[in-house]
């Protein structure tokens, strides 16, 4: 799967809660929402902390860019805007959250549970970018 192959999909505009997260992608920075009151990390960003309920203490931290495959699947059937085969994965970040993403690789069937990943970016037409992952160099 090339990054260019998957660009036609429209990504909705951010809302008031998710805007900082999306703005950071313009600088190719991956943010994780964190509660300063209790330390809980969560994704996607929300208007309150799902651990302690606080709506006042939510902050952002920058992700390291490391990730590990929690589970993945190779999509073999085409949807509009996507060219199979491609890898959809739940990626576990050391910051304590799971992201849904793609693992971009020429060998989709070689990706498995526990594989180490590195952050990469897929540009969007409006200057934002989607965080995707590539297999770590071994």
């Amino acid at each position: 799967m090339s990054t260019e192959a998957q660009q036609s999909h429209q990504v909705p505009e951010p809302d008031e809660v998710t805007e900082p997260w999306w703005e950071a992608t313009r600088r190719r920075v991956l943010l994780v929402q964190r509660c300063a009151a209790c330390g809980h990390a969560q994704h996607p960003p929300r208007a309150l902390c799902t651990a302690c309920g606080s709506a006042r203490d939510l902050d952002w931290s920058q992700a390291s860019g490391d990730g590990v495959v929690d589970a993945c699947t190779v999509v073999e059937r085409a949807m509009p805007g996507f060219r199979p085969p491609y890898v959809v994965a739940r990626v576990r970040l050391p910051e304590g959250v799971l992201l849904l993403s793609n693992v971009v690789t020429e060998h989709p069937h070689d990706v498995g549970v526990g594989d180490a990943l590195r952050l990469d970016w897929r540009p969007l037409p409006d200057g934002r970018a989607l965080p995707v992952f590539v297999p770590s160099e071994r």
């Binding site: 998957q6 999909h9 990504v11 909705p12 951010p14 809302d15 998710t18 999306w22 994704h43 996607p44 929300r46 929690d70 589970a71 993945c72 699947t73 190779v74 999509v75 073999e76 059937r77 949807m79 509009p80 805007g81 996507f82 491609y86 959809v88 994965a89 739940r90 959250v97 799971l98 992201l99 849904l100 993403s101 793609n102 069937h109 498995g112 549970v113 989607l130 995707v132």
Partner: protein
Amino acid sequence: MSTSVAIVGAAESDLGVTGRSILGLQAQAIGRALDDAGLTLADVDGLATTGVSRFSATQVADYLGLRPAWTDSTFAGGSAFEMYVARAVQAIEAGQCSTVVISYGSNQRSARSRSLGGVVESHTPEAQFETPYGPLYPISYYAMAAQRYLHRYGGTRERLAEVAVAAREWALLNPAAFRHGAGPLSVADVLGAPVVSTPLTTADCCLVTDGGGAVVLTSLDRARDLRRPPVRVLGYGECTTNTSMTAVDDLTVTGAVESGRAAFARAGLTPADVDVAEVYDSFTITVVLTLEALGFCGRGEALDWIAGGRIRPGGDFPLDTSGGGLSYCHPGQYGVLLLVEAVRQLRGECGARQVPGAEIALAHGTGGILSTHATVLLGVDR
């Protein structure tokens, strides 16, 4: 324990490829279920349904000329109907209404209204954070659950296929099943079918058919004077867990743990008491995860437990005896047909697929992407 409410009527609409409208199928299912009960529309003062429009219960009530004193259109995918049983019991016991119809109809196959990506609402977090990556909805989520499960417990694709193979064996005994005439399904057939989202093939995925059904509930006291032997609602429970594909930390443990625990506790029963189980089989993996969550076997044990014919006709754990969503009928939200089959098994009406002497049945609905889980325990009136 137990409840004071019974199911007194149950019926399917036409199934398969019907060429009918959604409301036409609804009216057919409701009419047949009321006939089965020996009741009429004039008796109905409660209605629960989904999948028609934004105002589903209102729409069906209007279509039938009803002014119900109680309605429910909780949207919880295929598990909605098991939830409606709980709500209906509560409404009848509280005296808000006396006779409830739970119904469903879908023409998704005739209308070609199903899409691989599902229905994405642009204002949801999933539209921003998940849809851009192209997961098939709901298939890719179940695929990841299957991959994670097989990895964690060292299971094989071949052994997961048993769920689909057994479902076909049951369908061969059910003349109403979509695959009734299709002949047996082998493990090789399942693995050799086109891959949709690894490791799942089309044979791991439920059918896409038209279909519908309805059940009628009233008080047990009144049920004993009606045409059919009452099927008692013994217990119910539910759990709602996620809409996001990343909200649940462990893909192999579902909300059926909580829904099952609540249902068994309310009924004063244990998994060992269940004679026949109708467990939502949207995908082969759904059954594996649900059997473990409900406590029929331990975690990581389901593939061993179902091997050797246990869930096939003649086995000691009759499962999805209609042929299930995999081989009988899957009209998008299949849960109402789990109830219909459970009722028929408890009444002894199932002909070649009848489980001899079945007295306790379990119906378990699963909606969305392992999002909603609802368990109902039913029993003969002793």
